[in-house]
Subunit: 493 residues, 2 copies
């Protein structure tokens, strides 16, 4: 079987190539003929749908409602918040016309020059501006607050260098936008949503994350604080997996969203926004998968269990089919998604490799000889361990095994992450070691200058000031000045 | 209470105005500041989400998988299918540039003229072209077929005159795109999906529909046959609520999607596409609602039951709260979504009017006097009938009542529809009567000329050749020529 999987580049040979090949070969996504835009294939989309459903329920449990705002944003809206325009009104898709017409040779279409828009429209790179322009009409009194909206949608940022799921010009995401009567409530909401993201990443994706707050340089354009979850990939690089922003009154002021407080005095509303995107797919893939293909956490696997018969004579196949039917039924009754693949136009060996590539957590194999013995072969994708079990009670065993796999891949990722977090206070040492990846906890003087120097020297950036690190006094490893805090530094995607 | 509802224009006074006001006042949607694009507000979106979830399950039960294809389509793709380009490459949003830059006065942004795209990109008005361009790489053998993909997404058609939900420049929809090895299989799939739409409309939306096939003039651009479901609104106008297209090999040929059949010979793939959109919201609203506001079918109501206490002294309110708690719990356990509105900053009369406006199917009211008698007031939104019931067993009663309301509003709509379908073979008569709305079953000679004349004279169009009408011989009411079939003619949205 190893032979059949030779086509996937090994991680140790070229991690980046391994990732690119895996995404395509496991049928998750592919490049489209539109520059920088991907096609998410059914198998990849099925994982994303599972993520969406779970996150959506988690959002709603905190009182959030879904809504939908326009795809297109008038150009002038982008300029209303001074910092926001710097960050977002740059690499954008611009709609300038609203009509095509048949060309002179009648074999194609051209843009109709008479259908030029008075004001250009931008495909949303994020929706703070259009949403706060709408909130202006929804918010009048403290009774209208808090306003907690989310939308699941597509957004577009014109990226020069794209990679499937990690950085694409168009991507799918959710963006939550909340409005509050007080600063405290908005800050709490921003942190609450970060915790939702962290819980989701750890509990469902089995991806451990470091929670923290961004440095000023790395903040969202227009935010007073950006909170982040940072995950470590198997090459030691960081992947920013979700962010939640406390926006202060910046958008309230820019779009004149005022409300009458309990004392009947006008105040500007306080804002948060928070989002995760199809980038999470990249985090999922790169955290767990191996040289045989995807390793999916059972909680997000579209197919949790695959059952493959080992063919024999037709009457043997009938007996196998008959033995498998009750197992399928029992698993389905337990809410487990199971596929019985008895297609006869593919050899078992091909099926084995294919479901390994697709990351199906548990494989059951049943042949004529197993039937005689009342046994069934169980393979778990995370460790590739095989064992023979009694058919009797196999459904309960599989259910328990799925939980065990979920926990195991999480613990494995935690262990890897923890083994690659280093305290480091020597810059020469840092510069050498950061090349091999890992998260570095370093003292920082809090200036943008040292931050820029680190980035220039090493390509590494301050990922965050982590919440869970005890802050002790020290000196900045670059400037030698007294440190403001210990920060997490890493190269990143 | 009637007084408090005066703000909604009566249907009999101005049906169109009633609709526009209702959509906004019931918090379903509103116009945005982007021409022709709407904001779907949380209450409206909650209904759309319920529709999506149910339809998605119905699609998946027929083997369909979800996927996602790019928002932007290269201009040249639109010209590849000759008829398609005529129908769709017209009123489109055109992306010509990919960058903005700060203006000279540093107080705004302008389009960067150096960032002009070599080929313009069109925001998808529908995705046949980009999807079949992708299918080319997915389909090689008959073993790859059928390919059954759907996507939930936004699309854009630059509309000059827009109305919330009914016709907006951007709208949300699903578009299914299937590829098949044979003509028969594709035709069956197109009809199968129409039946899914019809079942959904009748069973969940409680909207009766006429199923049929479009005339050539009214076909989707690029289709060999367009199947449709047509619903009748309360003003007697038709609303096309969903369409399913048999596309033949048009897109297979245009994008060179060939597969090797079982005899190892190349053939072009056969196609279907089918979609429903946020337009369904318009059908839902206009079929059932009345002068007091929305009437929602229980199957799609975000809040199925609202419970309102009649306040008294604080100790009485406590007793009411205590009596309501087990009712809420029982209803929730039955899977019924219930809201207990004991907010003390609004009077009961205001709440009554508001939940009527929002179409909540069942209202329960409990006051101190009820408590003494062990009774509770039940109001059903569809008939506005009130009755006093024992609290004991109220949850079971409400559950049954919700089913009854669902059935009642459907039957009411069926009755209305059937009373306004007329056989008509006299054109003078037709021209007079069609002004008042209704569906007219008329003999038609099958020519585009008479079709055009009817439209010009009366604004009415051939909605479809209905499936369930016995076709008898006759003469065309306009031309006097022998009829090809009896068709359904109506004015429409």
């Amino acid at each position: 079987m190893a032979k059949e999987l030779d086509f996937l580049t090994k991680r140790s040979v070229d991690y980046s190539k391994w990732y690119n090949e895996l995404v395509v070969k496991a049928d998750l996504a592919e490049q489209s003929d539109v520059r920088g835009c991907m096609v998410i294939k059914p198998y990849g989309y099925a994982i994303w749908e599972k993520m969406q459903r779970i996150l959506d329920d988690m959002f709603k449990a905190t009182g959030v409602q879904n809504a939908y705002f326009p795809l297109l944003i008038p150009k002038s809206f982008l300029s209303k918040e001074a910092e926001h325009v710097e960050g977002f009104a740059k690499e954008c898709a611009v709609v300038t016309h609203y009509r095509l017409k048949t060309n002179e040779t009648h074999d194609g279409v051209v843009v109709d020059p008479s259908a030029k828009l008075e004001e250009e429209l931008i495909i949303r790179p994020t929706s703070e501006t259009i949403i706060w322009n709408t909130y202006k009409n929804w918010i009048h009194s403290y009774r209208d607050l808090p306003l907690l909206c989310n939308q699941w949608c597509n957004v577009m940022r014109w990226e020069m260098r794209t990679r499937l799921f990690l950085r694409t010009s168009e991507f799918l995401w959710q963006e939550g936008h909340t409005a509050h009567a007080t600063r405290e409530e908005a800050e709490e909401r921003a942190q609450q949503m970060l915790k939702v993201y962290a819980n989701f990443a750890e509990k469902y994706m089995a991806v451990p994350v470091v929670q923290g707050v961004k440095s000023e340089t790395e903040r969202f354009a227009g935010a007073l604080d950006t909170y982040t979850i940072e995950a470590m990939m198997q090459d030691g690089k960081a992947l920013q997996s979700g962010t939640s922003h406390f926006l202060g009154q910046n958008f309230g002021k820019a779009f004149d969203v005022q409300f009458l407080n309990k004392e009947n005095k006008p105040e500007y509303a306080w804002a948060t926004s928070w989002g995760v995107s199809t980038r999470l797919m990249g985090a999922l893939i790169m955290t767990h998968s191996d040289d045989n293909g995807l390793v999916l956490p059972p909680a997000l696997a579209p197919i949790q269990v695959v059952i493959i018969p080992i063919g024999g004579k037709p009457e043997q196949m009938e007996a196998v089919n008959a033995a498998v039917a009750p197992i399928v039924e029992q698993l389905q009754q337990m809410g487990i998604s199971v596929k019985y693949d008895n297609a006869d136009n593919k050899r078992p060996g091909f099926k084995f490799a294919d479901y390994e590539l697709k990351g199906v957590p548990v494989r059951l194999v049943l042949g004529a000889r197993d039937l005689e013995n009342g046994t069934i072969e169980v393979m778990r994708r995370d460790t590739l361990e095989k064992e023979s079990r009694q058919i009797e009670g196999i459904a309960e065993y599989v259910k328990q095994l799925l939980d065990e796999i979920q926990e195991n891949i999480f613990q494995k990722a935690v262990k890897f992450r923890d083994e690659h977090i280093y305290e480091c206070d020597n810059y020469e040492d840092f510069k050498e070691r950061v090349k091999d990846g890992g998260f570095f906890l370093c003292h920082w003087d809090g200036t943008a200058e040292t931050e820029a120097k680190i980035k220039e020297d090493t390509q590494a950036t301050i990922r965050c000031v982590p919440f869970n690190v005890e802050q002790t006094p020290g000196v900045d490893m670059v400037s030698g000045k007294p440190a403001k805090c210990r920060v997490l530094i890493a190269r990143s995607y």
